[in-house]
Symmetry: C2
Subunit: 131 residues, 2 copies
Amino acid sequence: MTAQQLTRNQALVLDALSAAEAPLSAYTILDKLRGDGFRAPLQVYRALEKLQDFGLVHRLESINAFVACAHPDEDCCSHGLTAFTICESCGKVTEFHDHMIEERLAAFASDRNFRPGKTTIEIRGHCAGCA
Amino acid sequence: MTAQQLTRNQALVLDALSAAEAPLSAYTILDKLRGDGFRAPLQVYRALEKLQDFGLVHRLESINAFVACAHPDEDCCSHGLTAFTICESCGKVTEFHDHMIEERLAAFASDRNFRPGKTTIEIRGHCAGCA
DNA sequence: CAACTTATGTAATAACATTACATTTAGATT
DNA sequence: AATCTAAATGTAATGTTATTACATAAGTTG
Ligand SMILES: [Zn+2]
Ligand SMILES: [Zn+2]
Ligand SMILES: [Zn+2]
Ligand SMILES: [Zn+2]
């Protein structure tokens, strides 16, 4: 699934996320885009779904919010696991990849004949600036 | 935070989760406990919060559901990170701990002066039986 | 153009969670 | 036992997040 040309709605949602300093909820995005003609949640959710397919956006499961991928050019998401730190004070998100963790989880799954799909790793806490 | 005697509501919620074959949503628990006098979501959410504090229940962030801890006697949750595999077909959940992953995440956080709080690791996929 | 697929618009509803406030219960103190 | 206090509970209302259903429009292909 490679990122082709984005539709207008997809581009608007991605721009909103890219401009934001912190993750945004779907309804926050909706409010930001009302001036661009957005009227209903589904317009946001549909765009978000495609953007996630393209590897341009990640969903943070533990806070029901979305962020633009930190390095979309590397096709980071297709190479497996993505992990995040999330500051509960300022909202700052750091995205990272760790092959050792990836292999460790893969080994655990393999040992049990568990076929892994999407994996979530999210560390909530406080960033250096908010210590 | 050690598990003292549970209240009636807490015990009912824990029993419901322990008896279940798969994670339950708060509203599913509510429905199961209507016969025991439960009337409102808050009764469930309050019990769940305490049970999580006691280390007897885990919340699965990626599916908005709750499970009884697989080994509450070991005080597993206080010793840090808990990870899960979640079968998207049958709902079966396996809870596990991995010190290498734990150390690896701690090192990443430490390098960035990120003070970690609760960490979520959830692998969604298909279990051996549902391959 | 016709047929097909993808994207969009809109309304309604479902699913998940919290706020606010009144009341009760269980333990501790006197 | 009477009092005080902290924790737990009951209830209603509301807030937040996400999906279903159906109609319309736009792009793609033969
Ligand atoms: Zn990414
Ligand atoms: Zn911060
Ligand atoms: Zn546990
Ligand atoms: Zn299964």
